[in-house]
Amino acid sequence: MTDQLTLSPNIEGGDDFYAELLATHEGLSKADSDALNARLILVLANQIGNREILTQALAAAALKTEV
């Protein structure tokens, strides 16, 4: 079986995570926020590691995935 990107709810404490994400950006300029987001993407991508999943994640983010 090929690896599949998880697209069903999977975050523990989703509301908490969302609040933490916004809090991390709090008070940052647009440029600094953009830079943080870019770093965050790279950190998360490294955690995933699997190239196939990453390709699926890129497609999902581009809203190109078939549901």
Binding site: D34, A35, A38, R39, I41, L42, V43, N46
Partner: protein, 536 residues
């Protein structure tokens, strides 16, 4: 004092061909006496094929130009009999440092794999490189080999025919005509041969300018490659510092697109830039300054009947990764043995189409890598810069981001996966020696493996039986019988057998693997010999 690149190395001399009543026919004419043209000519001549090199100039490369030569080309140069002076003179390095803004973000070590005769890289000015090749040509001439270089012989017209090429040549004493059975065009990125034949050269233009300055200085900088992204002395751009022999340092500064090239090249504009980088108290002398732009592109085909293109004439890459001269030498390495077999009638002309297929595969790999490096070094959109800077910021603190930093993916040998010359892999052995790979070197006591595989087809047996000589369809294959015991470091076993106890490899004259099996099989290896010579 005259620099080596200011002295004519092959001055114009009138040749009897210029006074002949009809155009003289030569076996092979090579256009261009740069590293690739000389490499092709030496390769052919040392195998007894008559070759004439024509060059519109009479000197070696003006300025250092290509400075970074990788292991595989050095191994090829060993086969051509001129690797040793290059390595003796060249500067070896393996530490690189990456700077971002005002900080050193990390340091890497190329940590060369043990058990190879040649290092991963040397730095050497192209003018020395060409000088040593010209010495090799002179040495071959002294031994009676059929090779000559004609300086200030500029090709002005080319006519192509099914079985030969006609060439008109301008010299200081007027023009004359020659004919050749085959022609190899190694006349650089701006190849006049390509233009004269009206051939395409398409690809991607990178809108950027880079200033190269070679400075002579007694400086304390270590023998390392230093690369800066967005440094304070060249805001928003990149910079590179690299050491060459004779206390010459290569400095490469990105300048951006909208600049006045002539103005930027003037010493009064170059010197303040260098002082900002090196510090006010460092004394230096400018040896050579140039501004370059680049494109990543290639010809659709490298073979056009009896005209074969090699090196920058066939494909052009950005300088990041040292993939220009390094890949050009792999072109002629691939071409010359095939051309020899075709000329001797031992292989069909269609064998030369595999030169196209294999080296286009190589060129595409180089274009891909050097385009990616260029996109990282000179981001062309806001988002591209955002991610680039994110990688650099992370790399300072976290190891995971360092492999994403791309200041040039340094040239490694091309593996001809999928080539029609390969036989199916029949050995469950190491990936790095699969059919299509260039043979990795291995120590054999005080000697090395690669010099034993030169210029001919070899059947390498490791703890396996096989005939000492195989004759098949006009091709002679000689056996090289080895045992894992011949290498106490076990590199030979690790690189060629892996977990297996024995192996048999059919190796091409350019030291690439054509076929491999755990033991000798008469029918299979005979078929492999026919396949690798285009006869099946």
């Amino acid at each position: 004092m005259n620099k080596i690149f200011e002295v004519p190395m092959y001055p114009y001399e009138r040749h009897a061909d210029q006074d002949a009543s009809a155009p003289v026919r030569h076996k092979v004419i090579v256009i261009g006496a740069g590293p690739i043209g000389l490499g092709a000519a030496i390769d052919l001549a040392q195998q007894g094929i008559e070759v004439v090199v024509l060059d519109d100039n009479d000197k070696v490369s003006f300025g250092s130009r290509a400075i970074c030569f990788a292991k595989r080309p050095l191994e090829i140069l060993d086969r051509l009999g001129c690797g040793q002076p290059m390595v003796d003179k060249g500067v070896q390095w393996n530490v690189g440092k990456v700077f971002f803004d005002e900080r050193e973000v990390y340091e890497f070590n190329l940590l060369d794999e043990e058990g190879h005769k040649r290092p991963a890289f040397i730095n050497l000015q192209q003018y020395y490189f060409e000088e040593y090749m010209v010495h090799r040509v002179r040495q071959l001439q002294a031994e009676g080999a059929p090779i000559e270089i004609r300086g200030r012989n500029k090709v002005s017209a080319i006519g192509t025919h099914p079985d030969h090429v006609t060439i008109e040549i301008d010299t200081p004493e007027g023009s004359y005509n020659l004919e050749a059975d085959w022609m190899i065009a190694c006349d650089g990125a701006a190849s006049p041969t390509r233009s004269m034949l009206g051939l395409d050269f398409v690809g991607r233009v990178f809108e950027d300018n880079f200033l190269i300055a070679d400075v002579i200085m007694e400086a304390d900088f270590p023998t390392e490659r230093w690369f800066w992204f967005d440094p304070p002395f060249n805001k928003g751009q990149s910079a590179l510092l690299h050491k060459q022999p004779d206390g010459v340092w290569r400095i490469d500064l990105q300048l951006g697109w909208d600049i006045d090239k002539e103005r930027e090249k003037r010493p009064e504009n170059v010197i303040p830039r260098l002082k900002a980088m090196l510090g006010d108290d460092v004394e230096f002398e400018l040896e050579w300054v140039s501004i370059y732009t680049f494109q990543c592109r290639r010809m659709e085909q490298f073979r056009h009947g009896r005209v074969l293109f090699a090196g920058d004439a066939a494909h052009q890459v950005s300088p990041f990764g040292a993939r220009g001269a390094n890949s050009g030498l792999q072109d002629t390495d691939n071409l010359c043995w095939k051309l020899k077999l075709v000329m001797e009638g031992k292989a069909p002309e269609s064998l030369l189409d595999s030169y196209d297929a294999e080296r286009i595969h190589g060129a595409d790999e180089n274009i891909l890598n050097s385009s990616r490096s260029t996109d990282f070094i000179t981001p062309k959109s806001e988002t591209s810069r955002l991610f680039r800077d994110a990688v650099l910021d992370l790399s300072e603190q976290f190891e995971f981001a360092r492999p994403l930093v791309n200041s040039g993916r340094l040239s490694v040998p091309c593996t001809y996966d999928g080539s029609h010359l390969n036989s199916a892999d029949a050995l469950a052995g190491p990936e790095k020696t699969r059919p299509g790979s260039s043979c990795p070197d291995a120590p054999l006591g005080d000697e090395f493996l690669l010099p034993k595989l030169a210029d001919r087809f070899t059947l390498l047996t490791i703890d396996a039986d096989a005939p000492d000589i195989i004759e098949e369809s006009g091709i002679t294959v000689e056996r090289l019988a080895l045992s894992v015991k011949d290498d106490k470091t076990l590199a030979l076993k690790e690189r060629y057998l892996g977990d297996l106890d024995s192996g048999v490899y059919l190796i091409r004259p350019d030291q690439h693997v054509a076929a491999r099996r755990p033991s000798y099989d008469e029918n299979q290896f005979r078929a492999a010999i026919r396949r690798v010579t285009g006869q099946e």
